[in-house]
Symmetry: C2
């Protein structure tokens, strides 16, 4: 998928099939959620969101589906928080920003050659993960507002 390209919800079925994944109802809904939300959801977040529409949904299915997606290179797991897995729809290489205040994870598009290196000091590189931590724009602004009020 090239930059700027969008995938219509109707194309989800074709996307799964092109990756060799049978497009079951649950899988389509989980993929749809990950693609529409850019929030790098946890299993629990996905579960809570989809549970309303699919009351029989099980977390096991979400775990199964996401590890299948990961194996088929449709999503990738983001290791930012140490206590839970977060998932990211596979777009162009990018970094992440974790807000320590609101726990939101933002995509950060960098122009760094680090993201594209094949070797580093003799080790063969398959993946490059970059993430920043701090206070996000929104929380900074909110903090500013609170100061003015008090």
């Amino acid at each position: 998928m090239k930059e700027g390209e969008t995938i219509s919800i109707g194309g989800l079925k074709e996307l799964l099939e092109s990756k060799g994944v049978k497009p079951s109802y649950q899988r389509l809904r989980i993929l749809e959620y990950i693609m529409k939300k850019n929030t790098h959801p946890s299993v629990d977040t996905i579960y809570k969101a989809l549970y309303k529409k699919i009351p029989t949904l099980s977390k096991t299915t979400i775990y199964n589906t996401l590890s299948l997606f990961e194996k088929k290179r449709i999503v990738r797991s983001v290791t930012i928080l140490d206590n839970e897995l977060r998932y990211d729809f596979l777009k162009d290489p990018h970094a992440h920003f974790l807000c320590l205040e609101c726990k939101e994870v933002y995509d950060i598009y960098l122009d760094s050659d680090l993201l594209y290196r094949d070797f580093i000091v003799g080790h063969r590189v398959n993946e490059c993960h970059i993430h920043f931590r701090g206070i996000c724009k929104n929380c900074l602004e909110n903090a500013g507002r609170l100061e003015k009020i008090s």
Copy 2:
């Protein structure tokens, strides 16, 4: 601690005191282990290593000690593997390399300005974490040897 500077084991007590941490026997031993080993150990690794010398040692103490050290900015937790915490003695900013084969974590010293940015697209940056994943030098060489043999 500046680059190139080394800390003698005898100086551990002073290091803890300078950070406002009472230098108990367990704390000294845990700090010593983290500083001597550059292997980014998990709690279990530390426990197994120190258990021989301190049979009464409890994992709770290691958890307590490490979170205290982290609060006092003596170590920092490395979020690379999602199923366990790894700890890193706080040196100059550096990146990590995780070998997917042997699970070893290597320090990588980079000359990237990413490590020193204060802001990124409006978010205030406190920390920058960079890690690569792949197959390390050693495992690559071993794989080569195996090929020759077979």
